[in-house]
Symmetry: C2
Subunit: 392 residues, 2 copies
């Protein structure tokens, strides 16, 4: 006996109020609320097929074309939580519940690039399993068990992850602030920086910060609550300058508490700092905030900006960070680059880099929908639950 194959695509999300620090390691409960935008799955996504059968002797998983062990605790926690909800909801019969599963998942972007791949991956897995087991409940708190920020990828548009207060984690869930269509002009440019910096993993970094940074306490108690309220208001009002200012300040503060940790660690490289400098000078020269940067636990920048600003920003990036293949630099949505006057470039007073390809790729994308089931039959597993060759 077997299920059908269920396939889902799920988005990445980039936080504008950062999640950094857990109050419960096992349940992945955060110390503070966070806010993010979910990005269009047509540009970047995880895709996951799941399948259950009485004929499968043990749970199996293939990630990006490679068979991996199913012994990962977070993976097991997610599957167990889904089955436990299914049992409670009686959404499938006990037989079905006892079957093992096969999972096949791919990202359409480099996993190692530090682009929130685990958030998309776990949101995708959990949504696929929820469909497989026919669940009705919200599953953002199950996605959270895989990777904290994955709970935000369960919704499209602008999303808040509520830290919650319950020790069980039942109120540590994501909710949607606004649909993607609420602010249709919102765009994102992801600047993929060559990753030379030796990186402290998010899990380890968060632990060090939570245990040692005195400034983190102030951030959690005073800064984040205010900022969360303000940025939600800015999203509701579509007030870009306010949204952008809070986004930049919160990114900076996150990196500040990493530096305040003991031992300290850094994710930003000199290229990251140059991007920060360019954006501040650009906004100054424009006489108002037109572009925001935000950086996660790595050197890549995510720029939030409105559609009208994109052609100019692409030119500016190309000018200051020369590429050996400028025509292939930008991927994702259709883009143009607008000539920026040499006078404007001069006034920015930023030295153009002479070394090429410090920015390897610019991914142009927009705010998009949450996870969706694939209905065109393009599964990653065949009807026996074995990986197909045509995985993307």
């Amino acid at each position: 006996m077997s299920s059908s194959v269920v396939t889902v695509v799920a988005p990445v999300n980039i936080a504008v109020i950062k999640y950094w620090g857990k109050r419960d390691e096992e349940l992945i409960l955060p110390l503070n609320d966070s806010v993010s935008a979910t990005l269009d799955t047509s540009v970047m996504c995880a895709k996951t097929s799941v399948f259950a059968s009485s004929n499968i002797t043990c749970n199996e998983i293939w990630l990006n074309g490679k068979k991996e062990s199913f012994s990962n605790k977070r993976l097991i926690n997610c599957l167990d939580a889904i089955k436990s909800i299914a049992a409670k909801e009686k959404s499938v019969d006990d037989d079905f519940l006892s079957w093992n599963v096969r999972v096949c998942s791919v990202n359409n972007f480099p996993t190692a690039a530090g682009l929130a791949s685990s958030a998309a991956g776990y949101a995708c897995l959990v949504t696929a399993l929820a469909k497989l087991y026919n669940l009705k409940s919200d599953v953002s708190c199950v996605a959270r068990l895989g990777s904290g920020s994955a709970c935000r990828s369960v919704y499209g548009g602008f999303v808040q992850w509520h830290a919650g207060t319950d020790p069980s984690g039942k109120d540590s869930v994501a909710t949607q602030i606004a649909e993607a269509s609420h602010w249709p002009e919102m765009r994102a440019l992801i600047l993929v920086v060559g990753d030379k910096a030796k990186k402290t993993s998010s899990t380890r970094g968060m632990n060090i910060t939570a245990q040692t940074s005195e400034l983190l306490k102030h951030r959690i108690q005073h800064c984040v609550p205010q900022r969360t309220t303000s940025i939600i208001q800015s999203i509701k009002e579509r007030n870009f300058p306010k949204f952008a200012e809070i986004t930049m300040k919160d990114s900076n503060q996150f990196h500040a508490v990493c530096m305040d940790s003991y031992p300290p660690f850094v994710y930003l490289t000199e290229v990251s700092h140059k991007i920060i400098e360019i954006i501040h000078k650009y906004n100054d020269l424009c006489g108002g905030i037109k572009v925001a940067y935000t950086f996660d636990a790595g050197p890549n920048a995510c720029l939030y900006l409105l559609e009208e600003e994109v052609p100019k920003m692409i030119s500016i990036i190309k000018h200051f960070f020369p590429s050996t293949t400028p025509d292939n630099l930008v991927t994702g949505l259709e883009s143009t680059s607008e000539l920026v006057s040499s006078d404007f470039l001069e006034k920015l007073a930023v030295t153009a880099e002479t070394k090429k390809d410090l920015i390897k790729n610019v991914i142009y994308t927009k705010v998009g929908q949450g996870p969706t089931e694939v209905t065109d039959g393009s599964h990653l597993l065949d009807e026996h639950g074995l990986p197909l060759n045509n995985i993307e």
Copy 2:
């Protein structure tokens, strides 16, 4: 009518609890207490000669062999403050007070290297003027008017600058915590890093942080008072691990609030971060804290350590930061370098840099005395108050 030439040498000081942010720009009143060690003038010092005469038509100053304008407001504030104390103390007659002055000052280390040259310079100027005008009062609060941290260079050993609360600044003065001889084994290694980073001046940086960083408030209200009490205790107890841990944490927190500023700015380069990594790994491998780093508003590190640790640390620096002229890398006090086993170096698990001379110079020094009058006649001005050629 003329005075004699008075010549003073004064030390630099390197803070272990950092001064960052003013509550009064004009009077240079800080937002928080700070603590520093004063470094031996035999290695690094400012030297200043002063001279007053009825024959001088206007105040004149030569800095590092170059005539400069006396119109600098901070310079004028210092001279005015000294004269005003002299008038109050009636330490010289009114005639003498009406004369103009000539000042000649040199640093025996590069001014641009970001090595607290203004602290030594103003401490030197103010001490020399105080002797010229025969003052009895403490002059640390006059030195403060030249450059905040200069008030700490007025004393030797370990020094606290009390933020004070009086709007006039009269209680914003330095006091000695302990003489240099109290902890005779204390040493400092200053690692001079090639300064590529475009730097935000301290004055500008402090203003941005004071106006925009939310974390700075918490630092000032909660972190610094505790740390100041603890580090003073560690100095009195000669508890090196405690002294070192607070020193490193406070350096990191200072750089964290720079990052939390809007716009953010950074002083540490990738070389600085590599030094931080090496020190933490070294301490871990030693099973206890043997060396502390601290960084001011620039990429140079100051390592505090006990004398017995110096030969090993010099070897380690030479190993990880190869020099084209390793025999000339270390200047200052007499030093040896002790062979560190390749096993130990391997366990540090730090990649040695291939690029040479990322650290240009290591200045080996120790905690030393405050400003002292030069009595061997080696003045920088002749008996007419004109610069001599033999300025160092």
